[in-house]
């Protein structure tokens, strides 16, 4: 230690002494632990009229979607717009979309935790919850799109009197295994990181909430041994979950790439899908954070520094997506194979052109916009930009799934597709279900991981060097 005097947070002689720019930083701002606890817990107990109206609205959409799904099961898949050759349509498109959304949680909480990026701290839980809920609604689609959903369990490997295993050569089986693994591991990861905050909430609540948190906290007391085990478990999870995260969207891409359908049969699909998932998922996370920040008044924790860093990460993911898209497109365009050419012509100047230009515009313009600090740090601008990204990414998936299937090797078999009310209602149901799960989650579980913020604050000390107050790493370790 130099001759500078250490000045731990909270012990500065007065708040005036700390420069205003430090006050803007979450980990450096002058707050007591009690203030932080209060700021996290208070919005959870506030269920105003608006909140219940939102829950009712989402519930209504879900009920209508369930009716549509029942209608679909009752009368058959003919009630959707699917046909021959467009056997997969909006359901698989939305499935890929939700699996993509689920990737941001791991990106934020595991990758950034390993990289020790401090700006991840207030948003890890929101991101992990997004992963878990997106996977839950995505997991519905492999059921919804089945012709005979009442036989879905034939895909599950269990001892049966037919003495048959499922066919593990099928990418759908890989999907089943990968998604189940990802859902289980990301839920555990979400829960593990929640335990200290459950204990915090337990100590500050009464009534049913107290009983709930007492159960969920698993008797957490915060002893050194407990912290040691928790941090170790989290370290193991953050390393182990990354290969799972890469495998899931790769396998989803192989649902398409292993066939010899023109434009699907591509080796670049796996990394292209993974990076597209990160681009789309991070954008969705920014969208959700902005909405939750407004709805729960979490301006204290979700500051412009976080949106700034998240925006930069989205921009990088967007550039990578563009690179992978171009690498795939160039080779297919240059190869000029007749059916691929027919598909590309459809996209550039045919019936798919509006979707193609929507995809390119909605994916590329945000990259330019995010280069501006003002866009990254102004919530309303960032909200618009990230929503645009996901419009683009949804369109991209629709073009890949529905667009490509319309053309194949024998021109007599070419087809077209129109969605029906059943498909649109079921898709809307999953969006509403995701929003409802997330809304309820944010009122039951502390949305901001308090212990991670406190831990981060301990790592920093304002230290006086000469006349300057400088943030430096604390020496408690």
């Amino acid at each position: 230690m130099s001759d500078a005097a250490a000045l731990p947070l909270g012990q500065a002689e007065s708040r005036d002494e700390v420069p205003a720019e430090y006050e803007e930083r979450l980990l450096l701002a002058q707050r007591t632990d009690a203030e932080i606890n209060e700021a996290v817990l208070k919005p959870m107990f506030r269920g105003g009229l608006g909140f219940w109206a939102l829950v009712a609205g989402l519930g209504g959409v879900i009920l209508w979607g369930l009716y549509s799904w029942g209608y679909l099961i009752q009368y058959g898949l003919g009630t959707t717009g699917k046909n021959r050759p467009v056997y997969w349509t909006l359901f698989i498109t939305t499935f890929v979309f939700w699996i993509g959304i689920s990737h941001a949680g791991t990106m934020i909480s595991a990758v950034l935790r390993l990289l020790k990026a401090d700006w991840r701290r207030p948003i890890t839980r929101g991101a992990e919850a997004m992963t878990a809920f997106a996977l839950m609604v995505a997991g519905l689609y492999p059921l919804i799109h089945l012709g005979r959903v009442w036989k879905f369990y034939w895909m599950i490997p269990y001892p049966n009197n037919r003495l048959m295993w499922p066919n593990f050569q099928s990418p759908l089986m890989w999907d089943l295994v990968a998604i189940t693994t990802y859902l289980v591991s990301s839920s555990l990861y979400l829960y593990l990181a929640m335990i200290p905050d459950m204990a915090m909430a337990r100590d500050h609540t009464t009534g049913w909430r107290h009983r709930l948190y007492r159960t969920l906290a698993l008797g957490w007391r915060g002893t050194e041994a407990e912290w040691h085990k928790l941090l170790r478990a989290l370290a193991i999870f953050s390393v182990a979950i990354i290969p799972i995260f890469l495998s899931v969207h790769s396998i989803v891409s192989w649902d398409f790439a292993v066939t010899i359908q023109p434009r699907w049969h591509s080796t670049i699909f796996a990394p292209y899908f993974v990076i597209g998932a990160v681009y789309s998922g991070l954008s969705a996370l920014a969208t959700i954070l902005i909405i939750v920040r407004r709805g729960m008044r979490l301006q204290e924790f979700l500051r412009s520094e976080h949106f700034d860093s998240l925006g930069k990460l989205i921009m990088v993911a967007g550039m990578l997506w563009t690179y992978f898209w171009f690498a795939g497109f160039l080779v297919e365009w240059y190869g000029n194979e007749p059916i691929v050419r027919a598909l590309i012509e459809e996209e550039i100047s045919g019936s798919l052109a509006p979707f193609f230009y929507l995809q390119m515009g909605a994916n590329l313009i945000p990259i330019l916009l995010l280069a501006f600090r003002k866009v990254r740090t102004t919530p309303i601008l960032l909200l618009g930009t990230t929503l645009l990204v996901n419009v683009g990414m949804y369109t991209e998936r629709a073009l890949i799934v529905i667009g490509s299937l319309q053309r194949n090797d024998l021109p007599f078999n070419w087809g077209t597709y129109r969605p029906t009310w059943v498909e649109i209602s079921v898709v809307a149901m999953t969006f509403a279900a995701f929003a409802l799960l997330y809304t309820l989650f944010s009122r039951i579980v502390p949305y901001v991981p308090v212990w991670e913020i406190k831990e981060g604050r301990l790592r920093y000390t304002l230290r006086r060097i000469g006349r300057l107050l400088v943030p430096t790493a604390a020496e408690i370790e």
Partner: protein, 244 residues
């Protein structure tokens, strides 16, 4: 080309490889094969609107391609059914083994195993598979002529041409009961039996003397999308010019 076709012999449980030869020179596009197939295999009729939207259920269909501009127009007819590929792209993708390769090299479709993922339909480059979008309906009096040897499929499952496997089995059982081997041409799928100009020929490709083997060795023989390497058991004989 003829030499290429004879590499088909690799799959054989009982030494047979059922195959069909389609002589495009003889096909007139009359669609009698399609009608016969509907009657034999209990294939429902989808109707005009559904068919226009690509939801027909025909197991065999005459694909018609127009060539040239009026008045110099040529129609080309290409009867297309499941090609019974040796390296079938539809087989590995099914999660529940509803489509699999039987010892005679046929792509068997097991209706009661199918859960309707339609992955096989996407994987098939010929799009020879059809899906039961609704519960099949057979208006009176069609219900009176359903074939008892063939399952009436339910909604939500895939189906396709089976080379009339029920007819193959019937002849095999009869021959076994009489203690003799099969004669060439004894097994006739419904389409082959019906084809008025005799454009469709069915038989065992592993028997070098059978008509299909001889025709498959013809200089005119080719297989559809042979470049994909699916190794189909349907062999086409190139047609001349058909002016309509």
């Amino acid at each position: 080309m003829g030499r290429d076709v004879n590499t088909l012999t690799k799959t054989s449980g009982n030494g047979r490889r059922w195959a069909m030869v389609i002589d495009l020179d003889r096909c007139t596009g009359c669609q009698a094969c399609l009608v016969a197939c509907h009657a034999e295999n209990n294939v429902p009729v989808a109707g005009e609107t559904a068919s226009a939207y690509g939801r027909w259920l025909h197991w065999v269909i005459i694909q018609r391609f127009w060539e040239g501009q009026y008045p110099n127009v040529k129609a080309r007819f290409n009867p297309l059914m499941c090609q019974q590929c040796t390296e079938a792209p539809c087989e590995p993708v099914c999660p529940v083994f509803a489509t699999y390769h039987n010892p005679e090299g046929l792509n068997a479709q097991i209706y009661n195993r199918c859960i309707g993922t339609r992955f096989c339909g996407n994987a098939c480059p010929y799009k020879a598979r059809t899906f039961n979008w609704f519960t099949p309906e057979f208006p009176e009096p069609l219900t009176e002529q359903l074939n008892p040897d063939v399952t009436v499929r339910s909604r939500g499952i895939m189906e396709k041409c089976t080379f009339c496997v029920q007819r193959i089995r019937r002849v095999e059982l009869a021959a076994a009961a009489e203690g003799r081997s099969l004669h060439d041409g004894e097994v006739q799928p419904a389409c082959v039996q019906t084809c008025p100009p005799g454009a469709l020929i069915f038989g065992d490709l592993n028997d070098p003397d059978s008509r299909v083997s001889q025709l498959a060795r013809s200089r005119r023989s080719f297989r559809l999308l042979a470049e994909l390497g699916t190794d189909p058991a349907v062999v086409y004989l190139k047609g001349g010019e058909t002016n309509v």
